[in-house]
């Protein structure tokens, strides 16, 4: 049955009773979503609430199992992203859809019918420059994508959608990769596009952003719509409650502690990235016991390399690393583990766990060489079972049993598993890279509390995160990294977002 749309001229998008199922989950459960022409409409929800799925349906990437879509009052069925583009719906994905080895123009015209055969790019170039001027999207059309900063790449994505005549623009967590200043620029662009009559759908889980940019907001929770409200009618606290389903405390209690002895000392460390280019250019800092040192910065400024260097996964070109005063610059990862260093890696699936091995096997990855887990060349499985059960209970890992494969765990439970393994060896230093990325509010809280508890027990924590709020909340001191150098250091209790933002963009602390 195709009920006709009660269509009003100012409605750009109407999605009705959308259902999208994946094996084992209903990602969208009868979702109805309406966006008006010329508004900035935020789609708010936790990770896994179904925001991206809903927008992937709207952009033609997924076919809905049930439900109907109207664009400007016209009933549409999208079989592919190009159908959606043809109807005026463009999406800027969280992970950019740009081919790094092609130029900006080539990426913009990719998949279009023009030019027919010979690649004459003069016209395309002119149109890109025109769009870029109109909306303040500064970018060089002939640059290769790999040469561009993340912010510039995002502009290319927006231009790409506009070039195709998108009137409805979906942005999936667009600020996650930007500095606060770049965010301001983006918001200006979005404002001017909305004024020109474009409809902007803005996916986010950051409340402050939503409050500052959106006209209206639709909140999703566990695949269902909680409500759609005008932004003037709500507060941040109210939105948080709608999103999580219970009142949320924004501040985490952190006792004041006097930093103790020096745990880690990094002196003028240089290292190269996978492409052989300098990634760390003279990094120096100290982490003491009883303190959390946060490293803030936009992704790709050497954070990954820093964590790898400290954990013995990447060679140091120049400089020294000391753990409790002992030089570990050339030490292997195994030696560093033995010295009591815990590592919460960036990618919990690839580096943090063995997907096809059981929980108990994953939990002993750092212990299996020595007693009590090892007995000569053998492993004492009876002990391992007991050990694993205790950890699962202590860290509240939700899993059917100790023999469950790690791949079956949700992101939050997998992260708890990694924490359980890493913290069970009573580490003196914890290197935590994006420890709460992609976790829901509950799991995030649990992880943060664990880190603060370890600090209380005397560990030194190095927290590397792109989430500035997280760094500001947890850290005792904040260092800002930019292009492999430390731009400055601020004590967390006197940190100023704006000042940190400038340093994230490369301005040295005065």
């Amino acid at each position: 049955m195709t009920a006709s749309s009660p269509h009003q001229p100012d409605i750009a998008v109407e999605m009705r009773n959308i259902v999208k199922r994946f094996p084992g989950v209903v990602a969208n459960d009868h979702v109805t979503f309406i966006a008006k022409s010329g508004e900035i409409h935020a789609l708010l929800g936790e990770n896994g609430a179904g925001k991206s799925t809903l927008m992937n349906v709207l952009s033609g990437l997924y076919a809905p199992d049930e439900g109907e879509i109207w664009i400007y009052g016209r009933h549409v069925v999208f079989r592919s992203p190009s159908d959606a583009i043809a109807a005026g719906v463009g999406m800027v994905h969280q992970h950019f859809r740009l081919v790094p080895t092609l130029t900006v123009v080539e990426n913009v015209i990719l998949g279009l019918d023009e030019p027919r055969f010979h690649l004459n790019l003069t016209q395309a170039r002119a149109k890109i420059l025109e769009l870029s001027q109109q909306y303040g999207l500064k970018v060089d059309p002939d640059a290769y994508i790999w040469q561009l900063s993340v912010g510039e790449q995002q502009r290319v994505e927006i231009i790409k959608a506009l070039y195709r005549g998108a009137r409805i623009l979906i942005l999936d967590e667009p600020t996650a990769v930007l500095t606060p200043q770049e965010t301001v620029v983006l918001f200006k662009t979005l404002r001017s596009m909305a004024q020109e009559g474009h409809t902007i759908i803005f996916i986010s889980h950051k409340l402050d952003e939503v409050m500052s940019i959106a006209d209206r907001v639709t909140v999703l929770r566990q695949g269902k719509v909680v409500a759609t409200v005008n932004i003037e009618e709500v507060t941040k606290e109210k939105l948080a409650e709608m999103m999580v389903g219970r009142p949320v405390i924004f501040r985490i209690e952190k006792p004041r502690l006097q930093p103790g002895q020096e745990v880690l000392r990094v002196e003028d460390v240089h290292a190269r990235n996978d492409k052989g280019l300098p990634a760390l250019r003279g990094i120096s800092f100290v982490v003491r016991s009883h303190e959390i040192v946060g490293i803030a910065g936009v992704s790709g400024n050497g954070q990954t390399e820093l964590a790898e260097v400290l954990y013995g996964l990447r060679p140091v070109e120049k400089g020294h690393i000391y753990l409790y005063g002992k030089d570990i610059t050339q030490a292997s990862t195994r030696e560093i583990i033995r010295e009591g260093v815990a590592h919460i890696p960036e990618d919990r699936h690839k580096e943090g766990s063995l997907a096809d091995m059981s929980l108990s096997e994953n939990l002993i990855l750092k212990h299996y060489r020595r007693p009590p887990v090892a007995q000569g060349p053998l492993i004492r499985w009876a002990y391992v079972r007991e050990f694993a059960r205790k950890l699962i209970q202590r860290f509240q890992i939700m899993a059917p049993g100790i023999h469950t494969k790690a791949r079956l765990l949700s992101g939050g439970n997998l992260q708890k598993l990694i924490l359980a393994r890493e913290l069970s060896s009573e580490p003196g230093l914890i290197i935590a890279m994006h420890p709460t990325q992609g976790l829901d509010v509950g799991a995030t809280e649990a992880v943060r509390k664990q880190l603060i508890a370890e600090r209380g027990k005397g560990a030194g924590v190095l927290l590397i995160s792109e989430d500035l709020d997280e760094v500001m909340q947890l850290s005792d001191r904040i260092l800002v990294i930019y292009e492999g150098e430390i731009m400055g250091e601020v004590p967390a209790d006197r940190a100023d977002r704006n000042q940190i933002g400038l340093m994230m963009a490369g301005q040295r602390q005065s």
Binding site: P81, H95, G111, F117, H118, L119, K275
Partner: protein
Amino acid sequence: METAFLITILATAIRAGAPVIYAAVGEIFAERAGILNLGVEGMMLVGAVSGFIAAVQTGNPWVGVLVAMLAGGLLSLIHAFLTITLHADQVVSGLALTIFGIGLSSFLGQNYVGVHGPQFEAIHIPGLSDLPFLGPVLFQHDILVYLTFILIPASAYFIHKTRPGLHLRAVGEDPATADVMGVNVARIRYIYTFVGGVLAGLGGASLSLAYTPGWTEGMSGGRGWIAIALVIFAFWEPWRAMLGAYLFGGVQALQFNLQTIGITIPTYFLNMLPYLFTILVVVFATGERMRRHLGAPAALGLPYIRGER
């Protein structure tokens, strides 16, 4: 005397390079689309034998060329189906294709060993072939050699300067992005895997109908593998593949001609050279750093399944 020797070497290098150029350019197309096809040797052999049989049966070498191209193309579709539709491992599938091709070509050709058949004769291009030095080096070849002179610039132009070429590059570099941009990844991969097979088949025909007319078992003698190595050596660029093919042809030419001027290097040693050279190229060209700098298609060898990252 020395000039004459140099002319012979260069002319032979170009002649001997032609079959390898076809195969290598074909593989460049397939790999640019992200499909590694290690079945080149098998496709060349099947092309050589089926082309020769068709030429003998019809008395027309052009029919042989068409049949060889079709045979190579059909064989490549097996690889395409396994790897693109069924997401099978490309290395395993390609190796199986080569082994299959070797067997199939021996089977088909069992009654044609030593048979005399039609072949492409050298055409002296009027005027140009009389030029001193360049004439005998470049313009006294058979038609299949001349076609490589067109194939190289045409494929370089196609890859870099046309819209289908842009889509080809995008599919090999980043199929997920190409897909979202409305490019049909599977179709493009099928097309260029097929093109790769067609050109490998043509390379085989240029062996059995022009370079060494006739059919002998395993007559490609590892040229399919050389072609695959050349693709890496060439960093996926047709012009460089041509250069590599001529280097290979030059070594072959030396092998024939050194003895005539009284230099005795064991033939076995010379036979070994192209492979040694290949190993060196692969060692130098496949280091992670080189790959990133010099642009192996980023998605080479990886199946594309929508919705997986």
